[in-house]
Symmetry: C2
Subunit: 312 residues, 2 copies
């Protein structure tokens, strides 16, 4: 198994990425290799500073970097020797089994779709986030920004993608999939949710438990919450801001601790032909470590194959 | 000045409404009267239990009640002697200067539009909520559920409505109006926000400060946040759930204290030809008191006239 890691992506790259790779390496077996993609010389220097042998890793040297603010499509095309472009080429060619980066989210999304491509039958790939539950454990919210506008059949597919992720990677048995809405009743909602509800109910593709509201995000009446990427992105950033507020105010609580993105490693891009994980821009070494381990988990649980089967 | 109060609306009606009316009365001058609309006999009994003379109020007896779960349009039509239907008839006839209820929100919205009607030029009335700001003070979010689907010109108008409310009722000078979006840049968003941004920027109807994200709701870079009613309702309920979590966990903080809806009294329905306020279903006497005082404030600041002028 080879896990590709973009060491140039993220606000604290390359240092946080390298330190994270060291920690991840310690949790891997001998046949599980991390491939560091980026500026090799810098990487080796950081490893030596930390008395960690570069021999533990494979290196693929790249000369360009896609920065956080760049236009995704243009950057991918104009910077063929960027760590993200090279990473996706390797993923496409089978030189690595998964690719992860805390860099430009849009470039990761576009790169996925340009290189390994969307799984046949999947209309739009989605990005997910982890939601801590008040009673313990976690749930999944998708889409959180890959698709600002969605059609009902796209939301239906997100239910399938989220359900498979929850079951395979997070070990949630028969995940309860809910539709984010503005009322519990079937007849409540906007045009999108009104059209999506009967599709989800009748398709019987997953364990659909009906509508939930904003107040249900952290409750135990669902495992997977589906919404369009606009709504999901607003929810994600609002919830993150609450976490940041509790940190600033030094309000300690086990529930708030579980908002810490570092534990979860990043957001899988679901619906493309290989495991891809995008980390938070501010990823720390701990977050990078968990991003690599999430890749490993996605490979080991054959999530991509399961999604392919579901859409055959 | 006569402020109509539906004493049958809300989970703790009529008792909470009557107790709230007593408190509100204490804050009013002799020429500011509260008109209690609902079951007079019960109201008088509660007042006597609390050693408060019924002479302080005017009464309009009604025999029907629209409950929380009823279909708004059907209920308004089928229950002409309900407190909500009678309240709106009085508002239309000029027998009261404002109408407030902690009852069925949909019925309040439908009642507004059927009776006093939408202000000419306003495409859709909106419902607002108060947002506490981290640095102190408050902001406004609209729409929070009156319009699940919105067109760009409707959002543009919400900017006008929210700006006038912020300036008139909440004393915010030259309110900064922002568009809720999934990125700060003009080119970010869904079809709705992409089309709304240039309208807001070019129309120069208010102090437009551009896009904000979910994480900006409580920050000081805006005073009024505009979004469609689906997004706003999800935000409102998610934010409320955080407040409830801090209460349950007994996390004391001045910022969280300011989430307490009781202080704000309820949501004005903006864009109809008279002041209308809808309270939270769980309204306490304190909340009812502040709902009545919000009505008073809306009357005194001539908010409705200002909105009429803006849409002339």
């Amino acid at each position: 198994m080879k896990i590709g890691l973009d060491i140039m992506g993220g606000d604290y790259a390359p240092k946080a990425a390298i330190l994270g790779a060291i920690e991840a390496h310690k949790a891997l077996t001998a046949d599980q290799k991390i491939v560091l993609i980026g500026d090799k010389e810098t990487a080796v220097a950081i490893l030596q500073e930390n008395n960690f042998s570069p021999d533990h890793f494979e290196f693929v040297h790249t000369t360009e970097v896609i920065s956080m603010g760049e236009h995704p499509t243009k950057a991918i095309v104009q910077k063929p020797d960027s760590s993200i472009s090279v990473g996706f080429k390797m993923l496409k060619d089978g030189d690595i089994d998964a690719f992860s980066s805390a860099g430009n989210t849009g470039a990761m999304l576009v790169g996925s779709m340009f290189s390994v491509k969307t799984i046949p039958g999947v209309i739009r790939p989605a990005m997910t986030t982890i939601v801590p539950k008040l009673k313990g454990g976690l749930g999944i919210l998708l889409d959180v920004g890959a698709n600002a506008d969605c059609k009902p059949d796209v939301l239906l597919q997100f239910g399938v993608l989220g359900s498979l992720l929850a079951e395979s990677v997070y070990g949630i048995s028969n995940p309860r999939v809910a539709l984010m809405n503005i009322g519990e009743e079937e007849e409540k909602g906007n045009l999108l949710s009104l059209a999506t509800y009967p599709l989800m109910r009748d398709a019987k593709l997953f364990n659909f438990v009906g509508n939930v509201e904003g107040r249900d995000l952290f409750t135990d009446n669902n495992d997977v919450v589906v919404c369009d990427g606009f709504t999901g992105n607003v929810i994600l950033k609002l919830a993150e801001s609450f976490y940041v507020i509790t940190l600033k105010k030094q309000l300690k609580d086990e529930f708030f601790d579980r908002f810490n993105y570092e534990q979860y490693g990043g957001s899988p891009i679901l619906g493309v032909n290989a495991p891809v994980v995008v980390g938070h821009g501010i990823s720390s070494p701990e977050a990078i470590k968990n991003m690599v381990l999430l890749c490993k988990n996605m490979i080991e649980t054959n999530l991509v194959d399961k999604i392919k089967q579901a859409f055959q």
